[in-house]
């Protein structure tokens, strides 16, 4: 029984061992699987860690790029703001005042200074200082003066320097840092084309600030802008001074001209007075001459020989001409001096012209000239002095008759706004172009063959012009040699 039990126990133990062995084998498999999973997980974690390192490194690069970009954008924005600001003034002393602390800080610096070198004395003069105490400024001024050769060379070379420039003498670089109390700096030359040149200094006490080429470029652009602004300011100053000089000269000339004009007026008045006096003095003996000639011609003092009669008639005729001439002179003088009073009344142009045409009808007939009057029936009346306007018409139509060897004289009148324009056109010999402009000048006569035959004083048209202008009208002529002439004048419409 015992043996049997032992055998059963043995079998059971065996079976148990087999079962345990099976479980163990299974567990070992699971452990192995878990180990594999852990290893895989660890491997994945390591892989992810490696990827994380890549992410960090990429992120650093991106950050650097972003930082550079931000710095550039910020710098350019500030530069644009500064440029606009310094360009807004044309006062040399105000240009540097536009460079404010905040703008310098936006460019990444805290301190700034600017000097211009006096061309004549060689002294450097402060034009800008930001974030410096009085005693620091004095030390800087002395340093710049002491190192003037180095700064002058930099200006002449047109090339700036910075705390990282390899070409700058190390000792000078350190001295600049020490004197200007900065850790990093950029100095850019200010180079206007003319006048005093100098340099702009910006610096920072930030130990982390790294100056790069971009900073140097930015400051060079700013210094260029300052140079340009100085140029503009100096140019403006020059132009302004030239303008002032010109104004002064114009004023002087105007004053001289005014004096000359007054003199001309005074002389003209004296001339008028003289003409008037002489004319009066001439008219009295002329009247006597004409009177005596008429008495002799009438035969009241006895018969006179035919030859004497002829001469006396000539005396009479020439006396009439002289009286007419003197009268014209007197009239011109009177009109010019304003001594004549126009009796302005509403006039019918047609009537006046017809009256004149009647007066000159004989002469026109003799020279076979056809007279045409083209006046609208509805033409309004003009406001004018009857006697004076009749005189104008006589003068102009008589001239047309004189210079038209045969042909047509046409008088037209039409309303032009508030004026009536009267044109007296002939088909005569016309006037050379170069003579047209002088036609209304006193004593002017066209130098032509016909004028050697046609008598005249050169006062008729001058007087006509004076009369028309006294009526606030205008007169002009259109003509060319051989193609006839048209004299036109305007008179105000009677309201």
């Amino acid at each position: 029984m015992f043996d049997f039990l032992m055998m059963i126990l043995g079998l059971a133990s065996f079976a148990g061992c087999i079962a345990l062995a099976i479980v163990l084998v299974l567990k070992i498999g699971q452990v192995s699987q878990l180990e594999t999973s852990v290893n895989n997980l660890k491997y994945t974690l390591d892989e992810m860690d490696e990827q994380a390192k890549l992410v960090v490194r990429t992120d650093i690069e991106l950050n650097k790029t972003q930082e550079e970009l931000d710095k550039k954008v910020n710098g350019l924005y500030t530069l644009q703001k500064l440029t606009r600001s310094i360009s807004s003034t044309l006062d040399e002393t105000q240009i540097f005042g536009k460079i404010e602390q905040e703008l310098v800080e936006n460019l990444g610096f805290e301190k700034a200074a600017a000097f211009l070198r006096n061309e004549f004395t060689g002294n450097y003069i402060f034009y800008l200082e930001l974030n410096y105490a009085e005693e620091e400024l004095e030390a800087i001024r002395q340093f710049v003066q002491a190192q003037s050769d180095a700064f002058h060379q930099m200006i002449n070379n047109e090339k700036g320097m910075s705390s990282v420039s390899p070409q700058v003498d190390r000792q000078l670089r350190e001295q600049i840092k020490k004197t200007f109390k900065v850790i990093s700096f950029v100095i850019s030359p200010i180079l206007p084309k003319e006048g005093n040149k100098g340099f702009l200094f910006v610096g920072s006490t930030d130990p982390d600030l790294i100056i790069n080429e971009g900073d140097e470029e930015l400051m060079n652009i700013l210094a260029n802008q300052i140079g340009q602004a100085l140029e503009n300011a100096r140019l403006f100053e020059k132009t302004w001074q030239a303008h002032q000089e010109l104004e002064k000269r114009v004023e002087e000339r105007t004053r001289e001209l005014s004096v000359a004009l007054e003199e001309v007026k005074r002389i003209s008045q004296r001339k008028n007075d003289f003409v008037s006096n002489v004319s009066h003095e001439l008219r009295t003996p002329l009247t006597s001459i004409k009177g005596y000639a008429s008495i002799l011609l009438s035969g009241k003092l006895g018969a006179i020989p035919e030859e004497v009669h002829k001469r006396l008639e000539k005396i009479n005729k020439h006396s009439d001409e002289l009286v007419s001439f003197v009268n014209d002179l007197l009239d011109i003088a009177r009109i010019e001096s304003g001594r004549i009073t126009l009796k302005l009344v509403p006039l019918n142009v047609r009537n006046v012209v017809e009256e004149v045409a009647d007066l000159l009808a004989v002469q026109m007939k003799e020279k076979q000239i056809a007279f045409r009057l083209d006046v609208d029936a509805a033409l309004p009346e003009v406001l004018a002095d009857y006697g004076q306007i009749k005189r104008v018409c006589i003068n102009l139509i008589n001239n047309a008759v004189k210079y038209t060897p045969g042909g047509t004289i046409t008088v037209r009148a039409a309303q032009k706004n508030s004026r009536v324009q009267i044109d007296i056109a002939d088909t005569g010999c016309g006037i050379p172009e170069d003579a047209v402009n002088n036609l209304f000048v006193e004593f002017y006569r066209v130098d032509s063959t016909i004028n050697q035959e046609v008598k005249g004083t050169g006062l008729g048209l001058a007087m006509v012009k004076h009369i028309i202008e006294a009526h606030k009208g205008t007169i002009w002529v259109k003509s060319s040699a051989g193609a006839g002439s048209t004299f036109s004048f305007t008179l105000p419409v009677a309201q």
């Binding site: 992410v55 960090v56 490194r57 650093i60 930082e67 800080e105 930030d206």
Partner: protein
């Protein structure tokens, strides 16, 4: 209702800036006379002594609390030169006390913390304490001990929010403003209590990268070794930079890729900037580190930073909504105080304006804003699940909304 007026001046000299900012702030306040507290921040280019002197002249005898900083956050924009002043008149039922301690005058940081705690508690015997608010400098190594001392006096039942203004670039020009005094090596605090609500939100926006590593040796704010290798090795390995290049560019690299420490029970990683590299390859951090902590290198993008700001704002609003006092909409007003880590500005670059726009859009339009760029922020990791612990954090935006 809190009666608030904020004034901002960009004037260059201290008198003109103080006069303008105070005049603006007063003009925006309902009651020009009732000023209980003045929060003020300036940029470090002003002379702090002159500024405080003139602020006191223009404001009279009122508590002044603030600091200078690298840049200011205001409703009008972010300024790297200027002065912002917030004049606050609290309604009845809101209590506060201000105090300061000079941290370098105590044998231990814990003792300094206890000193501030005791001073803040003055007058608070029968008033429930709700929030403490701190500004400090030079406590990167000892912040944890200081908080232990402070909380041993104030208790851990309410959160503490604060910021470090220590900016290495300012080279000693950083100052804390306390009434008529300029302080260095100090911590200034406000303890609040009574009938008011607050909402706190903070986030950084950095995400873990690569596999976790273990700090195998550290003390205070120095990591000696990671995975039994000199701590610098992790940066050498990930960035593929040699040590000389690392030393040269470390300030920026440390901002872009800080360490993230896993805090047990918390979702958010605690960030640590590295401020310098020791000769033995150890890393000096801005804030305490512990041996055995699991750390990972962190990375961010502008989008994740802005998303963090959005999350912080939502968290602050959610937290505010969960508070006990129920004010009628017309019977209360809000104010927002922002501590934004300076390195975030470096990371966000030109997007910092977008961040301010986001803050303005998310907060009620009539909520006045005041803030500064800081160099370490003190706050719970998550305000909505506060467990009595305040952490010194880096690269975080902290938004505090106060309603009364």
């Amino acid at each position: 209702m809190i009666d608030i007026g904020v004034g901002v001046s960009l004037e260059k000299n201290e008198i003109a800036a103080s006069e303008e900012a105070v005049r603006q702030a007063k003009s925006r306040k309902a009651s020009k006379e009732k000023i209980d507290l003045v929060l003020t921040f300036s940029t470090a280019d002003f002379s702090s002594v002159a500024l405080i002197k003139h602020l006191n002249t223009f404001l009279g005898d009122v508590p002044i609390f603030g600091s200078n900083s690298s840049a200011l956050i205001t409703e009008k924009g972010i300024f790297n030169h200027g002065l912002v002043v917030m004049l606050i008149g609290f309604p009845e039922g809101v209590y506060f006390n201000t105090a300061y301690t000079k941290t370098n005058e105590f044998a231990t940081s814990t003792a300094a913390g206890e000193d501030l705690g005791e001073k803040l508690l003055y007058g608070f015997q029968n008033v429930s304490r709700t929030l403490s608010f701190l500004l400090f400098d030079r406590m990167e190594e000892s912040g944890a001990q200081f908080m232990t001392g402070l909380q041993s006096k104030l208790g851990r039942s309410f959160p503490c929010i604060g910021a470090s203004i220590s900016n290495p670039a300012l080279a000693g020009r950083d100052s804390l403003f306390f009434n008529t005094t300029i302080l260095n090596n100090a911590c200034i605090g406000i303890l609040w209590g009574g009938k008011f609500n607050f909402g706190l939100g903070l986030k950084h926006g950095w995400k873990p990268l690569g596999k976790p590593h273990t700090i195998t040796q550290a003390y205070d704010n120095i990591i000696v070794s990671i995975d039994d290798q000199p701590a610098i090795g992790i940066y050498e390995e990930y960035l593929n930079y040699d040590i000389s290049r690392l030393k040269k560019e470390f300030k920026k690299l440390s901002i872009l890729y800080p360490f993230g420490m896993r805090v047990p029970g918390q979702q958010e990683y605690l960030l640590r900037n590295v401020t310098s590299i020791g000769d033995d390859g150890s890393l000096v951090c801005r804030g305490n580190v512990q041996t055995g902590s699991s750390v990972r290198l962190m990375i961010s993008t502008k989008e994740t930073c802005l998303e963090a700001t959005r999350e912080a704002l939502n968290e602050a609003k959610t937290h505010l909504a969960s508070q006990s006092y129920r004010f009628h909409k017309n019977d209360s007003s809000k104010m927002a105080i922002i501590f934004n880590s300076f390195p975030r500005a470096v990371s966000l670059r030109r997007e910092i304006k977008k961040e301010l726009e986001l803050i303005r859009e998310t907060l009620d339009p009539e909520t006045p804003i005041i803030g500064v760029y800081t160099h370490g922020e003190l706050a719970p990791l998550l305000s909505t699940s506060y467990h009595g612990q305040a952490y010194f954090q880096n690269q975080t935006i902290s938004i505090l909304i106060i309603e009364a």
